[in-house]
């Protein structure tokens, strides 16, 4: 009779990387649904493109690196990267944008660093920054929420729009971007900041149809959906509370201080937390285990750093949203943070090598 030899422990909690990644995708589903309902079906087309590109790029590089392909595709990490990038770019951005971005994320940012677990930067955010810098026009062409759109786009139109930058009826994206009032719209964050630069106060800006109750139409609900997904991840133990809480907390605190000083020129905490990618980034992007800090204390610092950077860039920077930059900058600080936040080992007075 043969006996199986194994090293202890012989028991496992049966949570695998693949499951964790799949949970991330599942938790993203409500937000994706909300996004496609509020902002059109374009996001679904982008998702499809991104996922196919991610799998193809991953398989290609794994083949070149002479690694087993299927088990590594099954860890679903490429899928997560694809989803996060696809939901971050404008719904009707041209198809090549997401293809380039995803391929860059997988090939350059992830695999060239050694694959899953070895990348210094968050692949989705690095790709986002690349696209933002290389194709600023395409990357900022967000359509207004469907409620504010002149022309409604069906699912087929979404495919046409992504592929040819015009609906199947030939309505160009430029026309589509015009709101019911005939004004070309950007994201609420963008609009508000543009208005600020043009000398308007925020309350004046909030009068625009893009806003409702001090938050962006549609964006508020989208952020809520991401928040719900994030809470699901927390509940499932996929992510820990430290990073999202510190990201959102520091962002809220900074904006609260600024807003208390001057509510006319500074975004309210509510607006900050429920605009742009706030919830998405706090729960889904900053918590990427590979590129985030790995110590309990370090994660707090890491989250706070992101929150503060987001506030600074949103308030003083020139880009519509700040999370991609903030996350990448924080990624760079991770080795340092990790080194100086090592926990004290049982029975030791202080951390060795640091006095």
């Amino acid at each position: 009779m043969s006996f199986r030899i194994a090293s202890s422990p012989h028991q496992h909690n049966q949570k695998t990387t693949s499951q964790l990644m799949l949970w991330v995708v599942i938790a993203a589903l409500p937000a994706i649904a909300v996004q496609s309902y509020l902002f059109g079906y374009g996001v679904l087309v982008q998702l499809l493109l991104a996922i196919v590109t991610a799998w193809a790029s991953e398989a290609l590089v794994l083949m070149l690196r002479d690694k087993t392909i299927l088990p590594r595709l099954k860890d679903h990490s490429a899928l997560v990267t694809a989803v996060l990038l696809a939901v971050s770019i404008p719904a009707y951005a041209p198809w090549w944008l997401v293809v380039i971005g995803t391929a860059f994320a997988i090939i350059m940012v992830k695999q060239l660093y050694g694959g899953l677990g070895f990348n210094l930067f968050n692949p989705a955010m690095a790709a986002y920054v690349l696209l933002l810098i290389a194709f600023p026009v395409q990357m900022t062409q967000w359509l207004p929420p469907t409620a504010l759109q002149q022309h409604a786009l069906g699912p087929l139109d979404a495919v046409c729009a992504v592929m040819s930058q015009a609906s199947c009826q030939g309505i160009s994206l430029e026309q589509l971007r015009q709101g019911v009032d005939g004004m070309t719209m950007a994201t609420p964050l963008d609009t508000a900041r543009t208005d600020l630069m043009m000398g308007l106060t925020l309350p004046e800006s909030y009068e625009k149809p893009l806003f409702q109750g001090g938050v962006g139409v549609g964006w508020f609900w989208l952020n809520l959906a991401w928040l719900a997904g994030g809470l699901l991840l927390l509940q499932q133990g996929v992510i820990q509370w430290r990073i999202p809480v510190s990201v959102l907390g520091s962002l809220a605190l900074c904006s609260l201080i600024a807003w208390s000083v001057n509510p006319d020129t500074n975004f309210s905490p509510l607006f900050q937390l429920f605009s742009g990618a706030s919830m998405l980034a706090a729960f889904f992007i900053a918590t990427d285990p590979v590129s985030a800090s790995t110590t309990a204390r370090g994660r707090i610092y890491y989250g706070v750093l992101i929150g503060v950077l987001v506030f600074v860039i949103r308030s003083f920077g020139g880009y519509p949203d700040a999370f991609a930059f903030a996350v990448l900058l924080a990624n760079m600080a991770v080795p340092l943070i990790d080194y100086y936040t090592r926990p004290r080992t049982y029975g030791h007075k202080a951390v060795k090598g640091r006095q």
Binding site: S2, R4, T17, T294, Y346
Partner: protein
């Protein structure tokens, strides 16, 4: 600020970081009574079942032993004996698969029970009347080592000088499946309490704290009633979490204190014993029952009747499993110990030992084998699970990189290998295994470094010693020199006289030498003159003064030489011309050679001739016919040429003679020819023997010339002759070497 004891009395609990909550799977087993195993057919009792050294084996094959009889003798404090678990016959003392992850064979006593289970005589003690030493002695002689898993000898742990503030009795039993301590507490609470009292008698702690996990309510209530009324004893129910039962973690949990790294609990005034150990202590002291059996949890879904079994030490695992209705899968995993820290067994003949608390035979469905190891995603689930607050993901990275410095900085050696990290790792990385390997490597390195250090120290010590000896010698020599100088100055006249005598004796010797040298010169001059004459005169009109004696000698020599060549081997021939003529004198051909030594010039000439001959033979064809010194041994030569040459040669060789005899020369030539022919026949590979031939020839020529220089001249200059011979030999050798080319 409350004191620790006050806080403990106030039922305060602390917490330790990390920990995991694997399914405990204990409920069913802990309700069943402890079953007794029928005596197995054979018991395999390893000589060493604890941390320390094995005792000295007391029995041999064929011995009959009684139950409880010691089988080994603890001959030092790091040792505890093992005892016969039942009466029976010693079948062998042999190597047997050890109950260790390595499964390496270890010395084992094989006992065949006789079924009578007869006890040796027992001597129970009344502990309250015993000294600490007596009790410790009894504990050691009863073979008691920590029953919780580590197997540290209990008498060693108990023999402390420090004050014990808190005696902690560990009934936590946090690992899944295992309920041996639970069952023991339920059924033997009173004995356990007696054991604790004995330990208290030895250690005199200020308080006793019994910790039991809260998933063992029956055990808690049993212990509570057994301890009732004892002060200050506390029974503490601790939350179920793995690894609460770890010594360091339990101390943190119960007292909020940490055992400093590299120290022991006693250093912070605490001592911890397992409930099983205190039971064994009570048995040993009160009933003189040594540690011969223990409770083992036999669990797993491949068993029809999983249960706690009281098994004699040495019971093969197969007996236990089959007693519980084992229905193995293929391939089956059998784990000794729990699912978190146990190890798999390679075969089922492995025996139960003092530290075996569980045998687990799970189905694949129940405890699936680990999946494929994936890359670490730095999720830090491991760091959150680590009860020692380590960073397992960093340790993994450094382990893979073999970065021992970083491993040390990140406190690898504080890892207790509880397995919590690997349990939660989503990439199913066998983290503990990596750490074990890294630890082993570091220990190995340290051993090597120590060895190198010792070697260096040894070397330096040796250098220092040599240096010291050298200095000592120098000093002594200097001193001796001074002494000698002093002595010499004292006997100065004598020394001068001695020196003068030496000089005188030298002077006396000198005239004789001068005489010899003069004669030599004379002879040489004559030789030169003769050669001159030979060259100008034709061999035909040489003087008629014949010397038959000389011719006869030459002929004889030629014969001898021919004979020798026919033999055509013999390393003696290679050195026919020894430095000591006496040595070669025994051989016929070399008797001539001996005489050759008498005349250095002649010898030199002879050597030159031999050289030429050897060269010629090597060339072996197309030789110069016009040469006067053509050698006689050349088979390819025409008669006529030979005639003239041989005529010329003897003339040459017998140059010492003032008037060479043509007739004699002709005879010699003829002989030489015959000899040469013979030689050609005898040695087909003439080139090979060439160098060797050269010497006899040379000897011949030399002897021919030496024949007429009388024996009286012999001792004239042996040194020169030897030099010439050596040169000839070297030449011949060289020739031999170049020849095969």
């Amino acid at each position: 600020m409350q004191s620790l004891l006050e806080q403990v009395a106030a039922e305060q609990l602390w917490r330790f970081p990390g920990g995991v909550h694997p399914p405990t799977r204990k409920a069913e087993l802990s309700k069943k009574p402890i079953a007794s195993l029928p005596l197995p057919d054979k018991l395999y009792i390893p000589l060493r079942q604890h941390i320390g050294v094995a005792g000295h084996c007391l029995v041999q094959k064929g011995d009959h032993v009684m139950k409880g009889q010691p089988l080994t003798m603890a001959d030092n404090s790091m040792s505890v004996p093992v005892h016969a678990p039942t009466s029976g016959l010693i079948l062998a003392v042999t190597e047997h698969t050890s109950p260790h992850p390595s499964a390496l064979p270890e010395p084992c006593i094989v006992l065949e029970p006789d079924g009578l289970d007869e006890w040796r005589e027992r001597a129970p003690l009344h502990y309250s009347q015993c000294s600490t030493e007596q009790l410790l002695e009894r504990i050691q002689q009863s073979g008691i080592a920590g029953m919780g898993g580590a197997g540290f000898p209990t008498h060693l742990k108990s023999a402390v000088q420090q004050q014990v503030e808190l005696l902690i009795i560990n009934g936590v039993e946090c690992e899944p499946y295992i309920s041996a301590d639970d069952a023991l507490m339920q059924e033997q609470a009173d004995t356990i309490v007696q054991g604790i009292e004995i330990l208290c008698h030895i250690l005199e702690p200020k308080a006793v704290l019994i910790a039991i996990e809260d998933d063992k309510p029956a055990a808690i209530s049993a212990m509570q009633s057994a301890c009732h009324g004892r002060q200050p004893w506390f029974i503490r129910s601790v939350p179920t979490k793995y690894p609460s039962g770890g010594e360091k973690q339990l101390i943190q949990l119960l007292t909020g204190q940490e055992v400093p790294a590299g120290r022991r609990p006693i250093d912070i005034g605490m001592m911890m014993f397992n409930v099983g150990t205190s039971f064994a202590v009570a048995q040993a002291v009160l009933h003189d029952i040594p540690l011969v059996s223990r409770i083992v949890t036999v669990a797993g879904d491949t068993l029809q009747h999983p249960q706690n079994v009281l098994a004699p030490i040495g019971t093969p695992v197969s007996d236990l499993l089959h007693f519980c209705g084992f229905q193995p899968e293929r391939p089956q995993r059998v784990i000794m110990g729990g699912p978190m820290m146990g190890f798999t067994l390679p075969d089922l003949s492995v025996p139960v030992i003092k530290t075996t608390n569980c045998i687990l035979a799970p189905t694949q469905q129940e405890l699936p084998a680990a999946g494929e190891e994936m890359d670490c995603i730095r999720c830090t689930a491991c760091a959150e699970a680590c009860p020692a607050s380590l960073l397992p993901q960093q340790l993994l990275w450094f382990s893979k990189a073999k970065d021992t410095e970083k491993l040390d900085e990140y406190n690898l050696f504080d890892c207790i290998e509880c397995g919590a990290c690997a349990y939660v790792c989503p990439s199913e990385i066998p983290l503990v295994q990596y750490y074990r390997v890294a630890k082993a490597e570091i220990r190995e390195q340290q051993r090597e470094a120590l060895k190198a250090e010792q070697a260096k120290a040894r070397f330096e010590a040796r250098q220092a010693r040599l240096e010291a000896e050298k200095l000592e010698r120098q000093r002594r020599n200097e001193q001796l020199a001074v002494e000698r100088a002093a002595k010499q100055s004292a006997n100065a006249p004598d020394a001068v006289a001695a020196a003068l005598a030496r000089v005188k004796s030298q002077q006396q010797q000198t005239p004789a030498d001068l005489e010899a040298i003069k004669a030599e010169r004379e002879r040489k001059k004559q030789l030169a003159r003769e050669r001159q004459a030979e060259k100008t005169e034709a061999p035909a009109n040489a003087a008629s003064a014949t010397d038959p004696r000389q011719a006869a000698i030459a002929a004889a020599l030629a014969r001898a030489k021919a004979k020798k060549q026919a033999a055509a081997s013999d390393s003696e021939q290679v050195h026919p011309q020894q430095n000591q003529p006496e040595q070669t004198a025994t051989k016929p051909a070399e008797t001539a050679a001996a005489s050759e030594a008498s005349d250095p010039r002649q010898a030199a000439i002879a050597a030159a001739l031999a050289r030429a001959k050897a060269k010629k033979q090597a060339a072996a064809s197309a030789s110069d016919t016009g040469q006067t010194e053509q050698e006689q041994a050349k088979p390819a030569e025409t008669e006529a040429e030979q005639a003239t040459q041989t005529a010329a040669e003897p003339a040459d060789t017998v140059k010492a003679e003032p008037a060479p005899d043509p007739r004699k020369a002709a005879i010699a030539a003829a002989i030489a020819r015959a000899k040469a022919k013979k030689q050609a026949e005898a040695t087909p590979a003439s080139e090979k023997t060439g160098p060797e031939e050269a010497k006899p020839e040379q000897a011949d020529a030399a002897s021919a010339s030496a024949a007429q220089t009388e024996a009286t001249e012999q001792p004239s200059d042996p040194r020169k002759a030897a030099i010439a011979a050596a040169i000839a030999r070297a030449k011949a050798k060289k020739l031999k070497e170049t020849e095969p080319k």
